[in-house]
Subunit: 129 residues, 2 copies
């Protein structure tokens, strides 16, 4: 049993390398644009500037075979299952990014702070409950 | 560009029909088991009873063509883009469920409250930050 995800948009960010990206959005990440594909523009209706949303990304560079890791890539931290961490390396490399909507320009949402690098696919957007 | 999700487990719940399921976990949902596939058991290391986690499910019965909906299935609510709602009907029907770990039994996690119905595939588990 497998399921197929289709990107609904892509991150356009000044962050272009994983080495430069903070590990969490709250750790000094910049704002970025989400370029939503025109075919999904109708699904944005109702999102407003100032909204708190959760952006779900696909970490396209992740190692899906990793089951345990040293948190924050620090070998002094004990080996931990990836389901107990936010490691991008995991069986299904989904990223959750709670962000604020800063601006809306047609099919584009300005959001932040967000640590996802330029070119990261976006697969879903949800309101924070 | 498509991405393939592989279930890492499945929900085992007393909720067996969508008609009986509350719309959110906080609305009277029961606890349920997540049966994690043995091949992913190592990824659970470090999860403890009492932890707050986010379970990501795949709404296998969703309509992926829905882009707008009346929130809470109430026609009096204005038509809204699914990215501004928690509707399970959406292009990539991922569900986010913040829950508490109630018990751990080998590869099984007792979690709740959770509104996902019996048989719902689980694709990821993350800690709440």
């Amino acid at each position: 049993m497998r399921f197929e995800l289709e990107p609904i948009g892509v991150i356009s960010s000044e962050l272009t390398s994983l080495a430069d990206a903070p590990m969490q959005g709250s750790e000094g990440a910049p704002d970025a644009w989400i370029d939503v594909d025109a075919s999904f523009a109708d699904a944005l209706r109702g999102i407003e500037v100032g909204d708190e949303i959760i952006v779900i990304t696909w970490f396209h560079r992740a190692d899906r075979g990793t089951l345990q890791t040293h948190p924050r890539s620090d070998p002094r931290n004990p080996l931990t299952g990836v389901f107990a961490t936010r490691s991008p390396d995991r069986p299904n490399p989904l990223g959750l990014h709670p962000v604020t909507v800063r601006a809306i320009d047609g099919n584009r949402l300005r959001v932040g702070p967000i640590e996802a690098i330029d070119g990261t696919p976006v697969v879903d957007i949800k309101p924070v409950l």
